[in-house]
């Protein structure tokens, strides 16, 4: 157990305590930060998907280009102000005086779920024009129509694509679900209208059979699906 931070210590004492706390945190298995900004953020996705369509906006995907540029503006190893503010809230004491120190350790915080939530980059798998048109930003989830903000297979979400809002249906995510259900290597989504009609006409990627449970709601989406898993 890392030593509790001595909040009554002087300036240096606080800095030391802060460092010790950060270093003492148990590194979880799914730490995968390549983030030069030393990501310490909870709940913003620590997984990088192959399709580059994942994780929170503050974990930049190096291949993404312009969308990551804003975050990569800082030199490696330093924390941005937003991260600092969040850190302040989370750890309970200010670390602004650490801004000049380069924090080398990559650590993970308690797992962001690899299911779909706000600001998750998703992959549109149908052949609709909106889904396949090139744009300088990947489609992102901005709302999940769910009591919890976490979307699983069969949940409807609101997507921001090409500067417009569009509803979509989740057909697969990277998070392992119940046993015997498939887990996909990317977060897949099918664009949908408000009344449930899909925008595209074909879905080549495999769709889990579990969607058939709600045949009534998703009958049209299931009708255009080619492969099932």
């Amino acid at each position: 157990m890392p030593p509790a931070p001595n909040l009554w210590a002087g300036e240096e004492g606080k800095a030391e305590a802060a460092q010790a706390l950060i270093r003492g945190r148990r590194v979880r298995r799914n730490a995968s930060f390549r983030d030069p900004l030393g990501a310490v953020l909870p709940g913003l996705g620590d997984e990088r998907s192959r399709g580059g369509m994942e994780a929170g906006f503050l974990c930049p995907d190096v291949r993404r280009g312009p969308s990551g540029a804003a975050c990569r503006g800082d030199s490696g190893g330093q924390l941005t102000r937003i991260q600092m503010a969040l850190l302040h809230r989370r750890l309970g004491f200010s670390l602004t005086h650490l801004s000049n120190t380069v924090i080398q350790r990559h650590l993970s915080v308690s797992g962001a779920c690899r299911a779909i939530q706000k600001l998750t980059r998703v992959r549109v798998v149908d052949n609709s024009a909106l889904g396949n048109a090139p744009y300088h930003r990947p489609p992102k989830c901005i709302h999940v129509y769910n009591k919890t903000g976490v979307g699983k297979v069969g949940d409807k979400i609101l997507l921001a694509i090409k500067g417009e809002k569009k509803k979509a249906l989740i057909v697969g995510h990277k998070m392992p679900g119940p046993h015997m259900t498939p887990r996909f290597d990317s977060n897949n989504v099918v664009l949908i209208e408000d009344n449930g009609n899909p925008l595209g006409t074909r879905i080549k990627t495999p769709i889990p059979y579990i969607l058939r449970r709600r045949e009534g709601e998703f009958s049209k989406v299931l009708a255009i699906a080619r492969n099932f898993v």
Binding site: S32, H179, K204, P206
Partner: protein
């Protein structure tokens, strides 16, 4: 009599040249001697002479701990009961399997999936294995429970081992290494042969990977690392050479395995 003699002679000829002896021999008093049946031939089965290969499924081995062995014994009884009804074949991480499960939402109520086994986890009745395949450029993994009543059939299409016990790095490898045809034909494997070890070294996609597979903690031998030397040296910084000498982590399962294997094979023969 002559015919019977002839037949005995022919039979004798197959097993050696003893036919001139008992079958046609006439006793010294001229009366035919009692028919002596030929000695039973000793068939030297070279296959069984090779050490009988014992395979104990890893989920039978109890984890190290302070749990009462009675709990594992009861669980093993249930596992054996299930195995009597449903055949769970021998397979390893790296073998290609085809699994059919009962699915109320699938066509024909059954769902067939083919994939390479990348991980075998869990102990006892909750033992699982994860199959991976790439369908239409989309990687799919399904975690099946070995003893689930929903599983209707498990077929081993290709029985082989790989250099590692855990092939999770296939997620970060090029998709060609995880693609298998859904209608693949089973590759025959003879019983007495050793399990072939596929010494394939897999090529990876460019970094970042989901885990830092080059680190000594994962001890992966099946990846062809094309990283620069400095990165490989830097990864060695996380080496923990004291771990192999840690006595508290020792868990010698040879005796336990022996006992359990005998128990399981006896029960299954009944």
């Amino acid at each position: 009599m002559a015919a019977a003699c002839g037949r005995a002679v022919l039979r004798g000829a197959r097993f050696g040249r003893w036919f001139s002896s008992s079958a046609c021999r006439m006793g010294s008093d001229g009366e035919p001697t009692k028919f002596q049946p030929p000695p039973k031939p000793v068939i030297i089965d070279k296959q069984r002479q090779r050490e009988e290969r014992r395979f104990l499924s890893p989920e039978f081995i109890p984890p190290r701990g302070r749990t009462d062995p009675l709990k594992f014994y009861i669980e093993r009884k249930d596992m054996i009961q299930r195995r009597k009804v449903f055949n769970i074949p021998e397979f390893y991480v790296g073998s290609i399997l085809a699994v059919t499960t009962a699915d109320p939402y699938a066509d024909g109520k059954t769902n067939r999936f083919v994939g390479i086994c990348i991980q075998r986890g869990g102990r006892g009745l909750g033992a699982t294995f994860v199959l991976r395949n790439v369908i239409e450029d989309q990687g799919v993994e399904i975690c099946y429970e070995l003893y689930s009543p929903r599983i209707q059939e498990i077929t081993v299409l290709k029985l082989e081992k790989r250099l590692d016990d855990n092939l999770m790095y296939l997620r970060d490898a090029l998709p060609e290494y995880s693609t298998f045809d859904m209608n693949m034909k089973p590759v025959s494997h003879l019983d007495h042969e050793e399990i072939p070890v596929n010494k394939l070294q897999v090529r990876m996609k460019p970094k970042p990977w989901s885990k830092r597979w080059e680190r000594p903690k994962y001890n992966i031998k099946g990846i062809k690392f094309e990283l620069p030397e400095e990165k490989m040296k830097e990864a060695q910084k996380w080496k923990k050479p004291w771990l192999e000498f840690d006595m508290l982590r020792e868990y010698d399962t040879s005796k336990i395995e022996e006992k359990i294997w005998r128990e399981v094979s006896e029960e299954l023969k009944k």
